[in-house]
């Protein structure tokens, strides 16, 4: 790592002003897991790390708090994945949040990594992470995944970059219609989680919509009825410390024998956490059944365009989605 200073400021206004001043030479640091990785790889060499953990007072408390709010939850951006994974009060309606947090990384990493950092981490693409390769994301002319070893890359929404979005927590939050509260010198604003992520067709150089000086304060989960169920499932090459080959988060309520409020989110298939309107349209208002779930899974991947080495993701994610739907609707899996 190149030399840098650690800057600890106690208010959000000071942190925000500092970051807005010279964003190219400064980085915000929360748990620091992805940041330290990028610094060690030599991808970035900032002069200053501005530490979010130093924010004190009410703002500090909001950023580290986990508070119930009118049946929903306010999750501080500095809450660790370990805290989320073991948070007993996320009852069945919010199970996917806990399951996604528990699935990410390893116990040691989850003790440090934060919810906000998980959402805003940079891609894990091996071309992006290679210091000697100036890929499209780093201002180069091409995405090497298009013709290279693309076994872990996008099958949906790809182009001109074919990364897959690395955030596991984002998927569960997308399925729960979460939003993030962002501080800026002009005041606080709320951004729907779906609008936080920037597809490469809009701007391949970044994955999120926050500007220098914007600071994520909390993540808001809207209230849920007692009938709501959600779950998160992933397939990895290794059960622990590995990135998913594919993952799904689903949320729905079953009332009067019909599905309502259905959300289907697919991960590690697209450059952004991917919401499948096609699958939701098949499921909404229908009576749960194995046949319905199979149709929804097919619809979810109907627009997939696999690259040379990642066609396996289609049946894999179809299967995961069916399994998740069977699980939350308590419909036995077919033999």
């Amino acid at each position: 790592m190149n030399p840098f200073s650690l800057v600890r400021l106690s208010t959000l206004s000071e942190v925000s002003a500092r970051m807005a001043q010279a964003p190219e030479t400064r980085r915000l640091r929360a748990g620091g897991i992805d940041l330290i990785d990028r610094l060690k790889e030599g991808l970035e060499a900032p002069d200053e790390l501005v530490e979010l953990r130093a924010v004190a007072g009410d703002d500090g408390a909001r950023m580290t708090g986990l508070a119930e709010r009118k049946g929903g939850w306010s999750i501080g951006s500095l809450v660790t994945l370990a805290q989320l994974a073991s948070f007993a009060d996320f009852a069945r309606p919010f199970a996917a949040i806990r399951e996604a947090a528990a699935s990410a990384a390893t116990p040691g990493i989850r003790n440090a990594a934060t919810a906000g950092g998980n959402l805003l981490q940079r891609p894990r693409c091996w071309y992006y992470r290679h210091v000697d390769l100036i890929c499209l994301k780093k201002g180069g002319a091409q995405c090497f995944a298009l013709t290279g070893d693309n076994r872990y890359h996008a099958i949906l929404g790809g182009g001109p970059s074919f990364i897959v979005h690395p955030s596991t927590l984002a998927l569960a939050l997308l399925a729960h219609d979460a939003s993030v509260v962002v501080f800026s010198p002009k005041g606080e604003r709320t951004i729907a989680i779906a609008d936080l992520f920037v597809p490469p067709s809009v701007d391949p150089s970044r994955e999120h919509a926050l500007a220098p000086g914007d600071i994520m304060v909390t993540i808001e989960l809207p209230p849920a009825s007692a009938a709501q169920r959600s779950t998160y499932l992933a397939v990895k090459e290794k059960q622990s410390h590995d990135w998913p080959l594919g993952e799904v988060a689903v949320r729905a309520s079953v009332t009067g024998g019909k599905l309502s409020g259905v959300r289907v989110a697919l991960g590690h298939v697209a450059p952004i956490p991917w919401r499948s309107g096609e699958a939701e349209a098949v499921l909404e208002g229908q009576a749960p059944s194995a046949e319905l779930f199979a149709r929804a899974a097919q619809a979810a991947l109907s627009k997939a365009k696999p690259l040379e080495h990642n066609g396996y993701k289609i049946p894999l994610v179809e299967g995961l989605l069916r399994q998740a739907l069977h699980s939350i609707c308590e419909v036995p899996l077919p033999e």
Partner: protein
């Protein structure tokens, strides 16, 4: 439990820093998560880029190092303090060989900065026992042949010791699955996992493993 951890942390921070506002340390939730929150730093400061001193408690004794902010906790331990129990292997938080406890919580020392532990309580494998007087857990590792090449062992022991500590009086209810989850970040290329699980369960006074996960 979360509140008592926080209080202890606040006090410990006072040892290592000139000014500390313990009243700022807030209870982060109702304690319903059994994991403590992120460690706050409540001393406004600009540190570095030149070396500055950082003091903390290391294996029960006061320690002080003069390091740049870019120095990781693992580098400070191994190179500045000659504490070589935590191993440098992947240097990216992927293998767990550098696992230490920071205020009782297992952390990858390679992914932390030395300045992160100002005032904190850092525990390495060296504090668990000595070659002459092994801890209960270490003795169980030996009995169960829970190591082969030994390179992952110091990190593995710290993760397991932290689990036993965290479970406290309910440790005799530990299951094989919980132990497997606790060591899910400790990579053992010799494949000693089943023996590690058996050693931890025996130390905890819990029933021995019956079948491995994934087997009926």
């Amino acid at each position: 439990m979360a509140s008592s951890t926080l209080t202890r942390r606040g006090l410990l921070r006072g040892v290592g820093t000139a000014t500390v506002v313990t009243s700022c340390v807030r209870k982060p939730n109702d304690g319903k998560s059994d994991h403590p929150p992120i460690t706050n730093v409540h001393t406004p400061a600009e540190i570095g880029p030149e070396p500055t001193s950082v003091s903390f408690t290391l294996d029960g004794k006061p320690a002080i190092v003069q390091v740049e902010p870019r120095v990781t906790l693992l580098e400070a331990l191994r190179l500045d303090l000659d504490v070589t129990g935590p191993k440098l292997v992947c240097d990216r938080g992927a293998c767990g060989a550098c696992t230490v406890m920071v205020d009782g919580v297992p952390r990858n020392a390679c992914m932390m900065l030395a300045h992160d532990v100002a005032g904190a309580n850092v525990t390495t494998v060296a504090a668990l026992g000595t070659p002459e007087a092994l801890s209960e857990l270490q003795a169980a590792f030996v009995r169960h042949d829970a190591l082969q090449c030994g390179f992952c062992t110091s990190g593995m022991l710290v993760s397991c010791a932290a689990l036993l500590q965290r479970r406290g009086p309910t440790r005799n209810k530990l299951t094989a699955e919980e132990v497997e989850d606790a060591i899910a970040g400790n990579l053992c290329r010799c494949g000693t996992y089943p023996h590690v699980v058996a050693a931890v369960l025996e130390t905890a006074g819990a029933p021995p493993p019956t079948s491995r996960r994934g087997e009926a």
